[in-house]
Symmetry: C2
Subunit: 280 residues, 2 copies
């Protein structure tokens, strides 16, 4: 059977995910891309950028929690954090749940993504006025090059696929700039696509982080129903030392709520399927 | 954008997974259902039953490995195994990889599913002539009632969704029949759908296993790109005792190949997201 025009579909490599749409709520062409908001029948609101799914109300919690808490609990005392991209502010909200965190800068190229998210995903933006948060709208490469060396604890690369503009943010020079900006023991984490559809992308990303002189690389996996194949990864790398143990007791008794992440998931998410172990 | 008629789509609760199709290779109306085989562009072959995805060549390994190896390595010495359903023979093939296993009976209602699988998925059927395997084509409820009590170690319920005919296989009386057929320490495992879309189904299934007097229930999770939401579960229950430790050293040095399962994944797959822990 074919799906009619009431469905939003994102085909990727002969596979497609679709959501049944009630109505298009908003669309604008920003200087960088077309931002569209739909109301879906069963997944809440959907934001797409140039026709690619960014998030839905229903399942974004998994992605945002897994882009932040594993890296933050792997670090002994994360105080200064940068989020590259992340314009919907969902990652920012999760990072700000950590009491150790003193300052978070979100560097999003397209201010309109954040403004539209404030309007259509207010639940993700409720911490935007936290005094520890700075929202910066500029190119992340120049921003990171301007950061004082050895001044950040965690850099979260929360951007769309390594194509077009974003491609430069998935390359050795940018990872090296992040390395310079990180303190010893600091962690960079980047979304790294689907194990099933994009294994070579993950292999290349790991190799690039290695070339940028991080000491240890770790890929974690988690489900995201609305991203291609429904299965996603993030890849972390640490400056100057290995990962070692995470702050398990703190994670087990964290003073905030999560819907996906917990200490058991933290331990489990770095267990990799055999075909990934073989490939790395 | 809408997908044209070259795509096979399976809509489920306002969400749909689709595969780009080269051609329909085969279709038949068996006495039980319509069996269709497609050649997809990027997922190999696809089998559907009454329009629902059963498996693709590309990603069935995850489902079949996770329906068998966790239960088999949770058991100290699985010798006698029954597979309820499983007509494509992918689970049978995985079970027969275990040297402890002396006898496996696959009880599939629709013989045509197996015959079509032999033709279109020969790689899943390559162990069908193993002398330890018996292929039985009849109703699983009468079969299990006819089994000698305390004679099985593992029962794998590998059937499509709890609807129609299959519904009786997801109910307390059937779980109790399985319990009677199992030896003490025996394990039943059933596919239990998507955590994101079908949480209530999982909760009910766990409650039904509890009512059938199993001692401990454990749900495991894994990705299946071509099942609704791309995220799936199986639920295990044990007769007469708790799960305890799995045979980790055996799993770590298993004398056969897998593509998804390994000892790390075994430990990780029972870690549940916070919303599932809260719901159970």
């Amino acid at each position: 059977m074919s799906l009619d025009e009431n469905w939003f579909s994102e085909p990727a490599q002969g596979h497609a995910l679709s959501l049944d749409i009630n109505q298009k709520l908003y669309e604008e062409k920003s200087p960088h891309q077309t931002i569209t908001i739909y109301e879906t029948k069963t997944f809440g609101r959907l934001m797409t950028l140039d026709g690619l799914t960014m998030l839905t109300s229903r399942d974004n919690f998994i992605y945002h929690e897994m882009m932040s808490h594993p890296a933050l609990y792997n670090h002994p005392n994360p105080k200064d954090v940068a989020i590259v991209g992340g314009g919907d502010c969902g990652t920012l909200k999760e990072v700000l749940k950590h009491e150790t965190v003193k300052e978070v800068t979100q560097i999003e190229l397209d201010e309109r993504v954040t403004r539209v998210s404030e309007q259509y995903f207010p639940e993700l933006c409720e911490s935007n006025s936290d005094p520890r948060a700075s929202l910066v709208f500029e190119d992340a490469i120049s921003w990171i090059q301007g950061v004082e060396p050895d001044s950040l604890d965690v850099v979260i690369i929360d951007i769309s696929d390594p194509a077009g503009q974003a491609k430069r943010l998935f390359q050795v020079p940018f990872y090296r700039d992040c390395l310079n900006a990180l303190r010893k023991g600091g962690i960079v984490v980047a979304q790294s696509k689907s194990p099933l559809l994009d294994l070579q992308v993950i292999i290349d990303l790991r190799a690039d982080m290695q070339k940028a002189d991080y000491v240890q690389i770790q890929t974690i996996q988690f489900p995201v129903a609305t991203y291609p194949s429904g299965w996603w990864t993030a890849t972390m790398a640490r400056k100057g030392q290995k990962f070692g143990d995470f702050r398990e007791q703190m994670a087990r008794h964290k003073p905030f709520d999560t819907k996906y992440y917990n200490a058991d998931i933290h331990k489990a998410c770095s267990a990799l399927p055999q075909f990934m172990q073989d490939a790395f």
